[in-house]
Symmetry: D2
Subunit: 268 residues, 4 copies
């Protein structure tokens, strides 16, 4: 009925529309796929591995004269990992993607829940806690750069509330979001552990009564505003020479409000 | 190219596919539209009105012999409200929907943020707090029934943590979700206010230091488990003869864990 | 400063507040934990296993005379799985939970992304697709019951749009949500595969051009309203004698609207 | 029991902990509140007004020597708007915030659903469609800058699928996200309208059969990749001299995959 359809029926070879010339003369900075889930067997820098489920975003630049990219190749790249993933695999994937897509710049974000086994502070009962981790990889003309984002849940206890009240102090769950760039691979456990120790107290999945007493008192002895949390994390980061740049955010899901308190420090 | 397309071109009148006969002999309990946003000027039972943005779900039953419903009519029903909405308008809308869709049963859910102006407990500073409200309407053979859902954020303070610790007590934001059925229109402010008073303390958008001292101490003096919260709300509800049935849930976004504590009571 | 605190300091044994008597005489239907993430090695009925990340909700009833439950024991139950999970493990977990919590009724929901490897229809290229699966377990006085929820994404193509248009037809991603109760363990792959075949066409992660041609034409040849989808799934389910009851919902994220079309059939 | 608590009881004036000196010597780029909902009566540049519900984020910088900011003042700023909001009010709010918080830099994001009334293309039936809009305001040493984000849902129809298939073509809902900076106030309706016309077809809440035929055929005649959409929006933006810079993203919620296709163009 349409010329297009008739052509399609008549021609045995299926045309590759994406390869046509584009005349708009506009470079596309990023084109690719978003929000595809895939299981990975993640290897941390210290060699430890864990199975988890990752969400991948992959993109490359597209030259002005090309009409489109080949989306299915991005999915093939993910499957070719055979589930193995870590910082080394991310760097290799970036290079392989540029070759496969014939591009100059590439971007890969891989986000997944990461689990650490922790001992409760008094009872020493083990349980595992989840953290949201994202590895961001970029490649420009063969040079790769890796950024890490970790979202670390902690307790924060309000210094003002403690100071002005005859007893008690409001406290709440907070998210500390750290983004760091480093040329050396970073151990997720150490990065998370460092951030986690800057809240008023750490979280645990399993706490016995002796632990609950301990962490209640610890948080009360260690009050922190969102401002304190981001500064204390920033102070720790400034001691680590491998860190090229960072931003640290704290968001308190205030127990006394229906909104959040928020602070952010960015490295100079 | 296809018979269908040729027919479409040849026939001036556009066929109504939904009106065709269906031979599968399966009644559909609900068919309609979901997640459509529309501004409303909501009128509470006490006459007070407020502008807000609602998300509507509308559905009717579909007899076994009919192939499909007419989706665009649901959207027309929402527009015919002219933005006016409340319990009375919901009851009328249910009836109008049955007529328009030629159905026997109808279901409408309307969900929106609802704002109440509150005075801080000591400074008396005014600010407004948001609550998520849903009105659920059903109609079966001309008889309408209305259910209300209110999600009320409060502070909860852990009795165990307070009891076993030398000082302090973990506390957090909690959501109390109340669903009630009533044949009489209920005042949202009274319903929310009753629920809100069953937490360890209420939330406020604006608190001065004198208020923060007050509510910190109030929560500490008024510790409650999720179990206590749902029981205390249930006790209050059992005194209200207009309530036909209810469920009450409490979810604490625990400040010491990365998961929630949860409890639910359902009326008998 | 407070009597509570002094007592806590003076008494070596830490009191178990949850074990106190409650005088409100209100039974709690459900008390437990919500939204805790944990890695699992899921075993399907056919013996195949896959690593994934699950979100657990666990709850039991609480007798009227008890003040509270012991939340940390729920987390211990999850850890005692040692990551092994499937229908058999869910049934055992329900029983173990009742014993551990000294309760009569128990409820466990376990939700996780589940992956199936699929071959593209023409090129036969393999890739994996994710589905959201939830196993719901209940136990009442020793009797367990299992429900399955699978959310299956498919393509739906509008019969009306095809019929009335000279060419083309609007289509979109749809979610088919099936809930089934069965006394016999059900194979997830077969359940998902059955549902998936009732859309206008299945989805795939990787499609080559020959596949894209195939599925475009297949969807065009196989138009379905949400009403058709739920009826066709219901017809298939009615042939399976192991299914005790079911509900099936279809939600089309309409490509021509900013809202969804929706239908639901519930077994009698 | 603690010195803090005794002091609090003994001292009638409540200390302002936030005003204490901080010795860590770390500037905080942003400190404030996040995710607070408030009703607004939004005025577009063309004078038209509509009631909606906004989510506000407000933040200022904090000098290295100050321990904390005064969070309650941000909430007061929102209430002092008396619900009136638009680009002019945003600029005033930025200035007022700097004075009130004694800061040099300020950041305000206000996000809300925005409704436009549209006529269906053939039947001319009116209905309203919702778009997510965010106004971003920044102020640095008295100079304000405003950015606009609009998320515009459209239909996209795949050129490759159309070309290679004998009939039909896969299409889906897409989100076009445009961010623009301008020193002159921009009319939201014109901005949204321009973006909306770059999809394969616009969306509408209400479509009669004659409209559905029209838009099905229009989308089929107007196939676009994500790459085409971002380029076509970029071309239009380059003609508007008021636009200082922009980024445009397109995300197709692919009807044939369970992931998205994505493209982004950023102005030079």
């Amino acid at each position: 009925m349409t010329t297009v359809a008739n052509t399609a029926i008549a021609t045995p070879a299926i045309e590759d529309v994406q390869n046509r010339l584009d005349t708009r003369q506009i470079v596309i900075q990023k084109v690719g796929i978003k929000s595809i889930k895939h299981p990975i067997y993640f290897q941390n820098v210290d060699g430890h591995k864990q199975h988890t489920i990752a969400t991948f975003d992959l993109a490359v630049n597209l030259a002005a004269h090309l009409k489109g990219t080949h989306m299915s190749r991005f999915v093939e790249l993910i499957h070719e990992l055979n589930g193995q993933f870590g910082v080394v695999e991310l760097q290799n994937l970036l290079k392989k993607m540029l070759t496969k897509m014939q591009a100059e710049q590439g971007y890969i974000d891989v986000s997944f829940p990461y689990f650490r086994t922790k001992q409760a502070p008094v009872s020493q009962v083990s349980s595992s806690l989840d953290y949201q981790v994202t590895l961001h990889g970029e490649i420009h003309h063969g040079i790769t750069a890796i950024q890490y984002t970790v979202v670390v849940p902690v307790t924060s206890l309000c210094p003002c509330s403690k100071e002005i009240s005859a007893y008690g102090a409001h406290n709440q769950r907070s998210h500390i979001t750290l983004k760091v760039a480093s040329q050396q691979p970073l151990c997720l456990d150490k990065l998370i552990g460092m951030v986690e120790s800057q809240g008023s107290c750490e979280l645990y999945a399993t706490l016995k009564r002796s632990d609950e007493k301990y962490i209640t008192e610890k948080a009360y002895e260690n009050p922190k505003f969102v401002e304190d949390i981001v500064r204390d994390v920033a102070l720790e980061l400034s001691k680590d020479l491998r860190i090229l740049s960072f931003s640290v955010e704290a968001e308190n899901f205030e127990s006394i409000h229906n909104h959040s308190a928020y602070a952010k420090v960015v490295s100079e």
